[in-house]
């Protein structure tokens, strides 16, 4: 089976429509960014507090929001939609945007307490929330009541019991939420007497806080700066490497292509209202490196063909090179895309932004290797030739497109 047997598309003949498409996509992205006042930074970059909360049933998003607003906290409550199998269901991410370090610390407390008060009911003040307690707190709570109930239990056994109960609660399929006390009978050590004490001393809140992230604004600003620097350095590094392996114009073409990918990806993030987190920047950096792959493969083939077919005009030679590598380019990108897609569909909420970045980046990167990098070489050649026509003397050595890998001939640009 073979998809691309001896294709002969005239890629460069179509370069104007494709460049138009690139410009359109980039413009859409930039417009979206400008209109929304920049990319939507996650708490990694702007500071803030984030809480992952899982509910027993469908999360009452409005109730959460209004309860927290009453505490003077502007929150963003989003339901987790993308992601996997069951365990992410009924989870919300409560995020608040805070400006100073004190606010950050307080916000976390307030969120916790408000949730307990709103959904815990009257029990919240009296009993221990079994769905959110740690093993140590549980052991402390049960120690005396168990004594009073006549259950003789040594201290190490008490700690083990508490750990067993919390581990039971945290493993799938319960994943942090015990729905009824009766399910605890399957835990070793929970006898009917122990169960009675549990029911008396604890209650089961309808929610479970599975994770928190709190980032101070200072760290947020630092990370922003570092992220931008890292991307710029990576691009510079690529430019140097490719200029070293080929010619500097190839390096420029490759970097322009990757830069174009990054702009479009950022624009799409903004368009789909997606957050930029640390992992998303990691995805972008990976793409910078990966997107170079396809570009290098095409350039490699162009260089090889330049050696073999010395009389062919540059445009048709590049066309032929792209066609020859088309099969390989589309296939490899397609396969990497397959794995990125499975990450996007099944990888869970935490990796969702990262996976989206990869999926978009791979598609755009492949497109740019075929339709953006090569035209730049052609433009450079035309530019060089028009300069040559203006000056009748041979152009200086620095303007030559080829160096050591190519000799003389009509296809060369001087």
């Amino acid at each position: 089976m073979q998809f691309f047997k001896n294709t002969n598309f005239d890629f460069l003949g179509w370069k104007w429509p494709f460049i138009g498409l690139s410009l359109l996509l980039s413009a859409t992205g930039i417009v979206s960014l400008v209109m929304k006042g920049g990319p939507r930074y996650g708490i990694d970059f702007r500071g803030g507090a984030l809480m992952y909360v899982r509910f027993v049933g469908k999360p009452p998003v409005d109730k959460i929001r209004s309860a927290l607003n009453k505490q003077h906290l502007q929150v963003d409550v989003t339901e987790v939609t993308g992601g996997s199998v069951g365990s992410d269901a009924n989870t919300v991410i409560i995020g608040t945007d805070v400006r100073t370090d004190q606010e950050v610390n307080q916000a976390r407390q307030v969120m916790r307490q408000t949730l307990a008060a709103t959904f815990g009911g009257a029990d919240a003040n009296v009993r221990l929330d079994l769905n959110n307690a740690g093993a140590g707190a549980l052991a402390d709570r049960l120690r005396d009541p168990l004594q009073t109930a006549g259950v003789g239990i040594s201290e190490p056994d008490l700690q083990n019991l508490a750990s067993a109960i919390t581990s039971f609660r945290d493993t799938p399929p319960r994943s942090g939420l015990i729905s009824g006390f009766s399910s605890l009978t399957s835990v070793s050590g929970v006898t009917p007497k122990v169960l009675a004490v549990l029911q008396q001393q604890t209650y089961l809140a309808p929610f479970h806080v599975s994770g928190t992230e709190v980032v101070g604004p200072k760290i947020g600003a630092d990370l922003q700066h570092q992220a931008i620097m890292a991307v710029l350095y990576a691009l510079a590094g690529m430019l140097v490497y490719i200029a070293f392996r080929f010619e500097w114009i190839y390096g420029v073409a490759a970097v322009v292509a990757v830069f174009h990918d990054t702009i479009i990806t950022l624009g799409l993030f903004s368009l789909f209202n997606r957050e930029l987190s640390l992992t998303v920047v990691a995805a972008l950096l990976t793409l910078v490196g990966y997107s170079m792959n396809d570009t290098i493969v095409v350039f490699d083939r162009i260089r090889e063909n330049l050696k073999l077919m010395r009389r062919e005009p540059l445009e048709s030679l590049i066309n032929r090179s792209v066609n020859q590598t088309l099969s390989r380019t589309v296939l490899t990108s397609g396969l990497t895309l397959l794995t990125a897609l499975s990450l996007y569909l099944f990888g869970g909420e935490v990796l969702n932004g990262f996976a989206f970045g990869l999926v978009v980046g791979i598609i755009v990167g492949t497109y740019s290797s075929i339709f953006v990098a090569s035209p730049i070489l052609i433009f450079w050649q035309s530019f060089m030739e028009s300069r040559k026509r203006k000056k009748p003397q041979p152009a200086p050595a620095s303007a030559r497109l080829q160096r050591e890998s190519v000799g003389r001939g009509t296809a060369k640009v001087k």
Partner: protein, 538 residues
């Protein structure tokens, strides 16, 4: 040719065995497999559950404390030598960036004693630079080298105190490290796996726990103004006004205390939580070391029926009346429950923090979220792997089997490398493994496409395969290098989980060069050595 093939096959088999050992050891049962696996692969906090905290140590506290010590001693020396002075004060430092700008100002020294002042400062305080502001006033600034040393020492001391606190909590595998340079960021990274109650740990870490016992001169007053009014507008010498914390129904108040404490936290030998035998209320008992015990005995004997102020972190906790001579122990009552009493005891045992800390970042992943993340990662990985393998088999037929074997070996080498290097597997790290699968198959596609091209151009099977591999090799190197370089930047810039991703991707790619070229070629050669082939399934 055959011998060469056998050697290569041997290398591959040996490698597989080494990797298997690295991952699952030598298991004797199925349970052993699981246990060894869990032991060998270190899971990051985002998969195991736990807390990751970044603290910024407010080093300026240490600078201000150091300045105060210098001021006290200067005043003593001036008094002894009969040098008059109007005042010796220090400036206030608002933030970490200002720490170096600590300054002591000496005012009102008679002009003829200037030489003595210079001599004193030059001899006794070599870390400070004296500059005259006028004929009677001087300024002391800390020297840069001394400032750097103070910062480093304070940061190290804070780190050790926090380590002691964490160790006392019994949290295995927790760690405290310096992050960034002391001179600039003064940050500590605390990792606490499997911590139950991150809120409690944070509270513990932020308490400075400086315990001091003072003689109570007068009080309690309801406010600062009342105290000043009662004393005729000015506080008596050698005393200071300290706030009392509202506890157990008593209101907030102020006490007038002696300026220098009788007992400091460093005099404590031990501290334990205990219960009052009569009331059952929880309290913290402390024991003093020998020297302090003697001092305390003399003090209490001379002050029966006076009050003693127990001051924690600059606030009066309680002020009991001294009823009889006490030598080496005391107790702090008023704890709400056992946890409060034992947390205080823990802090007293660990020693006080020389500078307070501010939390800059906290990420807590509950164990349920960790388990979910592992599950999602595995499902995504397996589905990605299946999709890729399926495609390779359909598109390249027989050669697809070759690619699949290389791919599986690649994954095995990757996991084994993680185990041998003690690298931590994080959730982005799992994403890195999955991405490696996609990129790994890239190399195979490159080679197979080249082989197909050579076959089309009419070459014989063996020649086509050879040319395919050799032509594609350079391109494979090129493409891997670019991704590795961008991963290097990721590693430099990223935090824990992102570093994990960079590491797994790089290891995966390096392993890929080996499996895609060496292993795949060996498999092809082995196929050819078995029988003469006119065509291959590709």
């Amino acid at each position: 040719m055959n011998r060469n093939l056998n050697i290569r096959a041997g290398i591959i088999v040996a490698l597989v065995l080494i990797c298997a050992y690295g991952i699952i050891g030598i298991p004797k049962s199925l349970d052993d497999v699981k246990n060894n696996f869990r032991k060998n692969i270190h899971l990051g906090l985002d998969l195991r559950g736990g807390s990751h905290l970044v603290l910024q140590v407010q080093l300026q506290d240490a600078f201000m404390a150091e300045a105060e010590t210098v001021i006290d001693r200067l005043k003593e020396t001036f008094n002894k030598q009969g040098i008059a002075y109007a005042d010796i004060t220090r400036n206030d430092l608002a933030s970490l960036a200002d720490a170096d700008k600590i300054q002591i100002t000496i005012k009102g020294v008679p002009a003829d004693r200037g030489r003595d002042v210079r001599a004193i400062v030059g001899d006794d305080y070599p870390d400070w630079l004296l500059t005259p502001i006028s004929a009677t006033d001087y300024r002391m600034n800390i020297k840069p080298s001394a400032a750097l040393k103070l910062k480093d020492d304070t940061l190290t001391q804070c780190m050790h105190t926090i380590e002691r606190k964490i160790n006392q909590l019994g949290l295995a595998e927790s760690s405290v490290q310096q992050r960034g340079r002391a001179s600039a960021e003064a940050e500590l990274l605390v990792e606490l796996p499997n911590v139950d109650d991150p809120g409690r740990v944070r509270a513990l870490l932020s308490e400075q726990a400086t315990l001091e016992l003072y003689e109570v001169k007068d009080g309690p007053y309801t406010s600062r103004e009342e105290a000043l009014a009662q004393k005729g507008g000015v506080l008596p010498p050698n005393s200071k006004l300290v706030r009392a914390v509202p506890r157990r129904g008593q209101d907030q108040g102020f006490y007038l205390l002696a300026r220098i404490p009788v007992i400091r936290g460093s005099d404590l030998r031990d501290a334990r939580a205990g219960q009052d035998p009569q009331t059952g209320a929880w309290e913290t008992n402390f024991v003093l070391n020998q020297d302090a015990a003697r001092r305390f005995e003399r003090f209490t004997e001379a002050n029966i029926n006076n009050k003693l102020a127990i001051v924690l972190d600059g606030v009066v906790l309680e002020a009991p009346t001294i009823q009889n001579r006490i030598s080496d122990n005391g107790r702090i009552t008023g704890a709400a429950n056992q946890q409060e009493a034992s947390d205080l005891a823990l802090n007293l045992r660990a020693g006080s923090l020389p500078a307070h800390v501010v939390f800059e970042e906290e990420r807590t992943v509950g164990p349920s979220l960790g388990a979910d993340s592992i599950r999602s990662g595995l499902i995504a990985g397996l589905s990605g792997l299946c999709a890729v393998v399926l495609f390779m088999l359909v598109y390249y037929r027989g050669a697809g089997i070759n690619a699949t074997l290389a791919l599986i070996l690649n994954a095995v080498i990757l996991v084994a490398a993680l185990s041998y290097f003690d690298a931590t597997l994080t959730l982005p790290g799992i994403a890195g493994v999955i991405l490696t699968i996609g990129m790994a198959v890239d190399s195979n596609v490159l080679i197979f496409e080249r082989i197909r091209e050579e076959l089309r151009s009419g070459k014989g099977v063996v020649a086509a395969v050879d040319t395919g591999f050799s032509r594609a090799f350079l391109t494979i190197i090129d493409t891997h290098v670019t991704t590795v370089v961008s991963c290097a930047f990721l590693f430099l810039f990223g935090t824990g989980p992102v570093k994990g991703f960079a590491v797994t991707l790089v290891i995966g790619l390096i392993a890929n060069v080996f499996t895609a070229v060496f292993v795949s070629k060996t498999i092809f050669d082995w196929e050819f050595s078995r029988k003469r082939v006119a065509t291959i399934s590709i």
